[in-house]
Amino acid sequence: MTNLLITGGRVIDPASGRDGVADVLVLDGRITAIETSSAASAEARQGVSEIRQIDATGLIVSPGFIDPHVSLREPGYEEDESTASGTAAALAGGFTAIAAQTDTSPVLDNRSAAEFVRLQADRARNCRVYPLGAITKQHKGEELAEIGQLVQAGAVGFSDARHPVANSEVMRRALEYTRMFHRPVLHFAMVPELAEGGVMHEGFQSTRLGLRGIPAAAQDIMTGRDIALAELTGGRVHIMCVTTRDSVSRIRHARAIGTSVSCDVAPHHLLLTDEVMERFDTMYKFNPPLRTRDHLEALISGLKDGTITAISADHQPRAIEKKQVELDAAPFGSSGLETALGVCVRALIDPGYLTWPELIARLTVGPASVLGLPHGTLAIGQLADITLIDPAVRWTVDATRFKSAGRNTPFHGMTLTGQVAATIVAGEVRWQRE
């Protein structure tokens, strides 16, 4: 059924500036009317025989969330995640569209790999999945992947996942070449030799714990280089997972002078700091690593002033046994889709740093504009991708109940406020909380 009437919710659509109680009418999977009086909404639905009504009183009606880079791990790493489980997790986290990261085996660096991602997504029939394509063949950072053919297969952006393109000449050509397809390059900005072997942020805590550090400079230097190359080439670069004060200020300055650079931030970098590493728990092992309070505050001000336009869950699902090893042997990252909203509320809304419309913008229209996707708004005529948020409910994270096959999370057992109540794709309720 693709006819829907969502009544009584607080409709927040950052793209249009709308924020108020209204009814949302969806006909044939598209947003048809948003009315503030029930008389008007009754009139709008006149003549529609079959319609599902959802009472959204007390809920927020938001455009569906969009994540610009999600690791689905299929093909090649099905022990971590599959397209079916990853997209189910996306729905449970309120995401109606995601871009699939290229860290598969074989690497998503060719047309058939991109088409396989879309095929698996169609079979799963959960959220929308847009493939990314690799920047370089096999993520080696040497030769460009067949970017044009990847575009033809539906790639919306280019990324070598966790592999920095260390060679500046290669990155320059990638930015030049992607220009003609109007696609961004999503880069993991990290100087490999400064980060090598590191398991946490370099600073007092790493010194105290004897753990090898990844200095903030490893990200700052590469961010600076990427900005310079974006200026040189006119290409569009998007820095994934900024974590440092200097990277934020470099990006802020570059955007102010018109450089095509954007960036996103992950929820865990907004809530946790490197002090948690004293537990030597591999669930806290991230790359980029959890930083210190001053970096965290810089990220929040970057979100507030629009330097950081997108939030990505930075979903990195891993089979649990891979994390149950020594700290240096464990992989980085967490299964983040299902906790993204709650963690953002805890980090940003509860302390009053961001308003709901500001947070929702970074989860919807922000990432949509990074990837050039026709989603992220509740404009009339748009496909009705909608997330209903229960902003007040308190819930406890239970990783064993994740839809994601990846149960690796630092938030297991944490009580959070704010939960996704339902996720709607093209007017169809694809997920509803129990």
Binding site: E196, G197, G203, F204, T207, R208, L209, G210, L211, R212, R279, F280, E321, Q324, V325, E326, L327, D328, A329
Partner: protein
């Protein structure tokens, strides 16, 4: 003598010994006082006791070590415990078994205490969360080496009768040294003035926040120092070159006869070993009158006996509590 008759005077209450950072000054003194008692009870370590009769101590060494493992084995046996040795030169991961599974397997054989040496910081902490046995950290990567810290400090205490008010220099590769971290935590708590000294590439600036002073010139600080602890240059833990050559290191930070003559007459020279003769110190110093290097080794045995007894006593108390 029974475990319950162990002459412990002072607080303990720890199920595991993971590091000195979490211990208080009085807990540290409890260990030292017990080591003193054990020295008398064993007639300087020559006689065996039966304090740990029926207790099984497993040595889990995931990193090569001859000295520490031998010292722990001997300490356990002097107390009447049974010991089992498990060595794996590399992580058990290479065999497809996780480190935790290896430890659980060994615990299932009826082990009361696990002595763990591992190249990764936090590995013993991980064990302590998964095992019922008491876990004793025998060195976790570049993090801590609590019994080495204890024995270094104990050696100073035996020679000087106190720690408070002394100036102790830790010289060498501070960045990669677990011995340095354990020494710092213990010495600072007991009221010593601690100076860390070494090449600026191997002395992280943030270490000051642990309550120590940083010096880059050994010659500058030498006249003020009561004890100098010469840390081994950890060639195997270094990534890339932190100093231009061994010769230059020995020239700037090596303890030699010239430097000894410019130091205090009663300077104590410690070295946790194994020493690189000619690098951290010259043979003249290693074998000279200021050196207490061999005392450290025999005190190490007493310290490990004290730690094993304290953990065993705590375990007994815990088991009675459950029953």
């Amino acid at each position: 003598m029974q475990l319950s008759e162990l002459p412990v005077c002072g607080p303990w209450g720890e199920k595991h010994l993971l590091g000195l950072e979490r211990l208080t000054a009085s807990q540290l003194n409890t260990v030292f006082d017990l080591a003193d008692q054990l020295k008398d009870l064993t007639c300087d370590g020559t006689e065996r006791l039966s304090l740990l009769k029926g207790i099984v101590v497993a040595n889990l060494f995931f990193e090569n070590s001859t000295r520490t493992r031998t010292s722990f084995s001997l300490a356990a046996r002097r107390l009447g415990a049974d010991t089992v040795d498990f060595s794996a030169s590399t992580s058990s991961l290479s065999k497809g078994e996780t480190f935790i599974d290896t430890a659980l397997t060994i615990e299932a054989m009826g082990v009361d205490m696990v002595v763990c040496r591992h190249r990764t910081p936090g590995a013993p902490h991980l064990l302590s969360r998964h095992l019922k046995a008491g876990v004793l950290n025998a060195g976790d990567g570049t993090h801590e080496h609590p019994t080495q810290g204890l024995l270094d400090i104990y050696t100073i205490r035996r020679h000087r009768g106190r720690i408070a008010g002394l100036t102790v220099a830790l010289v060498g590769d501070i960045r990669h040294s677990r011995v340095a971290r354990s020494n710092i935590h213990g010495l600072v708590k007991l009221g010593a003035r601690v100076i860390v000294c070494g090449p600026s590439t191997l002395v992280p600036q943030e270490i000051r926040q642990l309550g120590v002073e940083v010096a880059w010139s050994l010659d500058d600080i030498l006249p003020e120092v009561d004890c100098v602890n010469l840390l081994r240059v950890q060639f195997e833990r270094q990534r890339g070159a932190f100093f231009p050559s061994i010769t230059e290191y020995a020239n700037l930070f090596g303890m030699n006869g010239d430097r000894i003559r410019r130091a205090r007459k009663d300077l104590l020279v410690l070295a946790p070993g194994p020493i690189n003769r000619g690098v951290e110190l010259t043979p003249e110093v290693a074998d000279g009158p200021h050196s207490v290097i061999l005392d450290q080794v025999s005190n190490g045995l007493l310290i490990r006996m004290a730690c094993l007894s304290l953990l065993a006593k705590e375990r007994r108390a815990g088991q009675r509590g459950v029953a």
